[in-house]
Amino acid sequence: MKQRMLAVILVAAAASLAIVPAPSPSDDGAEQVVPISASQYAFDPAEITVQAGQRMILEISSTDVVHGIYVDGYELQAIADVGRIQTLEFKADSPGTFTFRCSVTCGPLHPFMVGKLHVVPDYKWVRLIGGSALAVIAGMIWSQKRETQANI
């Protein structure tokens, strides 16, 4: 029973390690302007990397039909029109990777029109490797518990 508890705690720790956001550095007042052009079915650039704490100004436009942009996690939304630039201003204060996706139905692949916003440093690999190592240890402990039970 103790082993089972320990395994559960370790899995919880593994998950939290993978999830818990890295500490956010203080605001350095820097600003980053990123023009994003949307077209069926991609954003250009599709990946944006920004230092945590910076102010972001996304300048969104479209090259073909009306698209939109929705930033997961930050829950921001804007329309991307042809020949018109919309700006989306926010502070990138939580580190991590956030998917941004088209928010206006624009064709068959619309649900899969996505890009990624990386707010760094997010220590992603440290968290991933640490988390999975904990999960493996939890699994090993859990399997021992089964054996002792079976031996009785």
């Binding site: 993978a18 829950e75 139905t105 692949l109 991933l128 493996v136 939890a138 699994g139």
Partner: protein
Amino acid sequence: MRLRRTSEGIELSANPFLRRLLISRWPQWILTVLALAGFLYAILAGLFGTPVGNRNLAITAVWIAWWAVLLLILVPLGGRAWCSICPIPAAGDWLQRGGLMNSDGRQPRGLGRRWPRRLRNLWMQNAGFLLLGITSTVILTTPLVSALMLAGLLAMALIVSAIFERRTFCRYLCPVGGFIGMYSLAAPLALRVKDPAICAEHASKDCYRGSELGHGCPWMVYPGTLQRNAACGLCMECLRTCPLDNVALVLKSPASDLTSSGRKPPISLDESFKAFIMLGAALIYSAVLFGPWAEWKQAAYGIGTLPWFGYALVFSGLALLVIPALYATAAWLGRHAGGIKSIGWRNFLLRSTSGLVPLGLAAWVAFSLSFVFINGAYVISTLSDPLGLDWDLFGTAAVSWQPVLSGLLPGLQMTVLMIGLAWSTSVTIRAISHAVSTRGSRLLASVPTIGANMAIILILGWLYL
């Protein structure tokens, strides 16, 4: 509620109320007919509705709502529970039973041919799933194609049921049934007999032959020796036919099918390939559909074009070569490191890869979570406007697209993946423990496979985080 505990687990069917619900044909029949109605409705929507996928109920009902319920709830908790109310083989069942509600199983109709012995395995289903896999981006986004595929499944199930005995279609052909069966090995819900000795003594074997109370096992399974969930469709016919009250629906410890002792490996070679293909598909879909690489999306969508052949090649190569080679190498290393002589390499490989059942299931749950959270709103709006014709049946047509808790999604996905990794580690160790005597060599023997599992989770984590 009073429930009885048995050696297998908690006996749900011992509860008089649950038992009556399960034995009565009505609840199951009503759910099946409702599912069939929804299925036909989706086919009509696909045929006559808008070609825009996320505005058509054929797409949202099947690939968002049904898929989410199946992968997030039914399979992890109920194994093949879906199969017990699946509308696809319903018409075939009615044909074989000579009526919509006929409970007399003594005289099955149809040609009742037996499926060729060489095909009584999952290889056809593996091929079928791979074929759907490389074309899925079009199926998933094009209502007409989705509708034709669903209609094709209905027609095929009916034809196969007319020619071959029982649920031949479900066991050997249905591309969905194959993976539900494989992942049901990790589910806690199971049908088992209470005392195999009673079955061995019981000559008339009503459960397999059928009686005036019900049909002989549609899934061609003999309950008396049933040890694993994969082939049991949870149809409850044997609960109805057994005159000795020896059949039970139980809640047991999940994945115990994969770790029970015995000389035979817990999964067969065709099942391990099912697991490889499903894992490969989860990796490919996570990268192609939800990754930022637009060229891959276009390639996956452009069936028949050169980039699509490239995509199909990468997909099949990953599922049929790279992943199997990874696990074969890991098993080879592990068998040597652990100094295992008592079982052959193949047996050892199958034991070590049994951890792919919980691992793959977790990968699919994580993948499917994004469908619900991100695209669930489309289901609500298309319910009121199933054909995309600006109807508003229930007043929800104007519900605009809005992801739910998009900030929590990656965290939830990682939690599921970490549980899957821990679970697969434990299953792998326990599945090989019958072949390895000491604790030290057991660890050495399992480390390479666990390492491979960890690598898979790291790749998925990198894609999701």
